[in-house]
């Protein structure tokens, strides 16, 4: 039997209420048997469904205009083309299918940007499982199209009113549901966070991204890319994009976090106006795992902030925290303004409207490594950037946020406000 990964250096573990431990042991067992050992052909069925239902493989595309702009060959891994519009389905479909193999009867999940909730609702509908999604009230208001989508897919959407009403609160609330219903219910966690075996399992489901990208790059260009870039909220698209490159020491790995409005922190208010847990967080325990966190000096978790709901989280996956400490992954930050500019740039120059989360990864090309950078990072000859999702869910937010700012490349918006 294969061994599932419990910790990553000092990070990871299983810091959960006792009531959940048996479920987590059951899940660990199922993960090892079905996912790692392909018992009952689980992985075969998963691969077939993620292909036919999900639309894999997604392309690796040369970005013509960006390549010219940065004088480097930029390749895009197009997870935005996955069913549901983001990489999230890789994991959601895997877990819902696993829950089915485990004989569970009900699916719950938390969601921030609504992408994971949408992916889970779609997977649950596809596999005929009842599904409930917890979502912070603030995120509900920021990402309404995704709320609509979950409802239309037949999922219940439960607003979470506690705290600031974002992802952190939604996770806590889903854990409470799970603690009550653990015998019949599987909690589909949405990123490489939470107690073991979630971080390793979610990474494994997402690692198809880098598995494909590695092969595609070799076929289309030859060899390995010089650098691989992905945004990092919880870090699932990040780990998925990095997983098959971590052993290739010549490939630089950049995890782009949300710099929010500023990296400095307001202890008094308990608010970090960013979500840069890899860059400025400290070790601690949250939501079942030891990892890097945005917390105050007492250990209270701070509210994070980002213009993009999907990055708006105070923690980060433990494996990513470990790889940063090891020096294997370089964390960088891109702030709200830079992300919005990158959003418009990719939309106008490449004809791809990215999710706001994803836009951060492209902000890196411009604002860290590119013309606006401080020279600390130099781009190698070839770069693969993960397009973790599409921006349909963000249209309203982008219009509103763009309106507030003075961005060089924003389109005029009258047509949005005229004659409605």
């Amino acid at each position: 039997m294969s061994e599932s990964q419990h910790t990553f250096g000092d990070y990871g573990g299983q810091y959960v209420p006792e009531a959940l431990m048996p479920a987590i042991e059951e899940l660990t067992d199922a993960y090892e048997r079905y996912v790692l050992d392909n018992e009952e052909g689980f992985m075969d069925e998963f691969r077939q469904r993620i292909r036919d239902f999900g639309g894999r493989p997604t392309p690796l595309q040369r970005a013509d205009q960006l390549s010219e702009r940065y004088g480097t060959e930029v390749y895009l891994k197009r997870e935005d083309l996955l069913h549901g519009g983001a990489h999230k389905l890789n994991n959601a479909l895997g877990q819902v299918l696993l829950a089915k193999y485990m004989g569970k009867e009900r699916i719950i999940a938390e969601t921030g940007a609504g992408q994971h909730g949408t992916a889970t609702a779609m997977a649950a509908a596809h596999l005929d499982m009842p599904c409930e999604i917890y979502m912070g009230r603030r995120d509900i208001n920021r990402q309404r199209p995704n709320v609509f989508r979950m409802r239309i897919n037949g999922a219940e959407v439960n607003p979470v009113d506690i705290g600031r009403g974002t992802l952190k609160e939604a996770i806590s609330e889903t854990m409470r549901d799970w603690a009550t219903t653990v015998e019949t219910t599987h909690y589909v966690i949405g990123s490489v966070v939470g107690p073991a075996p979630f971080p390793a399992m979610v990474r494994d489901f997402q690692s198809v991204i880098s598995k494909e990208a590695r092969r595609q790059f070799d076929e289309q260009v030859g060899g390995l890319p010089g650098a691989v870039v992905a945004c990092a909220g919880g870090g699932s698209n990040t780990m998925g994009t990095f997983a098959n490159f971590t052993d290739d020491e010549d490939v630089d790995l950049y995890a782009v976090e949300a710099g929010g409005s500023t990296l400095s922190v307001d202890e008094e208010e308990g608010v970090a106006p960013n979500s840069a847990s890899l860059s400025i967080g400290e070790e601690g325990v949250l939501h079942g795992a030891r990892t890097k966190l945005l917390q105050d000096s007492h250990g209270q978790i701070m509210e994070s902030h980002s213009v993009s709901s999907g990055l708006d989280y105070s923690g980060v996956g433990p494996e990513l925290a470990y790889l940063v400490d090891e020096g294997r992954v370089t964390p960088v930050t891109v702030d709200d303004d830079e992300a919005l500019e990158a959003f418009h740039r990719l939309s106008q120059d490449e004809g791809i409207i990215p999710a706001l989360e994803t836009a951060h990864a492209f902000g890196f090309l411009e604002s860290v490594a590119g013309p606006d950078g401080d020279g600390s990072v130099e781009l190698p000859e070839t770069v693969v950037v993960n397009v973790s999702g599409r921006g349909d869910k963000d249209l309203e937010a982008v219009i509103e946020e763009t309106d507030k700012r003075d961005l060089d490349n924003a389109p005029t918006m009258e047509v949005f406000t005229d004659g409605a």
Binding site: P17, P22, S172, R176, V285, H287, Q295, H298, Q300
Partner: protein
């Protein structure tokens, strides 16, 4: 020293969040519980992400944090308390982990300071036995107990592992889910107590108990004590919302405490006599 001693007769173990809704009132509330007959008091040190708590205690946490509660304030609170009852600190692992100065190994400073102010043990809802090594070690060093929660789902090997580490008492979770007062007592309780019968450690049942009658039922079913949180926190919440005088709230707490303690004692009478006596 030794929380076990508190279970010589059926014990009443109330919970309140320290500093809810403010430092001074909270001191009086805790003292009222002692007057009402508490055998042990669980004092909550509020954490921003109380994943094991239902809405009642979540709100208590918010009130206490807004009142300025911090780990250091918590220790001052314990020092300021005038009660003659063993005290258990109930908190989440990150607060224990973060305490202390840069460079110190984590966990130990928190336990040391707790011992100093007179804490007798810990309950840490997000710390299963598997991750509890460092805290267990520090408790041993400073002579504190470490209470674990046994859930209805805890069985076999896991139960074994927990029982090897537990001290003071086990917290028997009466039902799946999160904290919160409920009208009925789950039949999961009896099953859990049966599973624990072979272990020689006091069993205190909690999660959902709100009346003397429920307390009696639980003790009659074989529990060595009852843990009551949300039902008491409801009284504090009501006082905070309606701006009631502290003394009035304290009186209500004391009288519910009395009822619960009495229930526990009564319950012991209803226990089936051991055969042959």
């Amino acid at each position: 020293m030794g929380l076990e001693d508190a279970f010589d007769e059926p014990a009443f173990v109330p919970y309140l969040a320290a500093g809810d809704p403010d430092f001074e009132s909270s001191l009086e509330y805790v003292e009222a519980l002692a007057r009402g007959g508490a055998d042990i008091i669980e004092l909550g040190l509020p954490f921003s992400e109380p994943i094991a708590e239902g809405p009642t205690i979540q709100q208590a946490v918010v009130r206490s944090l807004e009142g300025g509660m911090t780990p250091e304030r918590f220790f001052e609170f314990v020092e300021a308390l005038d009660v003659d009852v063993p005290l258990v600190c109930m908190t989440y692992y990150n607060l224990i982990y973060q305490y202390g100065s840069e460079g110190e190994p984590p966990v130990r400073p928190f336990v040391e300071r707790a011992a100093e102010v007179g804490i007798d043990g810990f309950v840490v809802p997000d710390l299963p036995a598997e991750e509890a090594g460092p805290l267990r070690d520090a408790c041993d060093e400073f002579g504190l107990d470490l209470v674990f929660i046994v859930a209805p789902t805890t069985r076999g090997e896991r139960l074994q592992r927990m029982m090897e580490q537990v001290s003071g008492y086990v917290y028997v979770q009466a039902r799946l889910g999160v904290t919160g007062a409920r009208a009925d007592v789950s039949n999961q309780t009896e099953e859990s107590l049966a599973r624990l019968a072979e272990y020689d450690v006091p069993k205190a049942v909690g999660f959902g108990i709100s009346s003397g009658e429920q307390a009696a039922d639980v003790v009659a079913a074989g529990a060595d004590g009852v843990i009551v949180g949300s039902a008491l926190v409801d009284i504090v919440a009501d006082g905070a919302e309606n701006d009631l005088p502290t003394a009035e709230v304290a009186d209500r707490l004391e009288s519910l405490a009395r009822e619960l303690k009495q229930g526990a004692v009564d319950g012991a009478q209803r226990r089936p006599r051991p055969e042959g006596t």
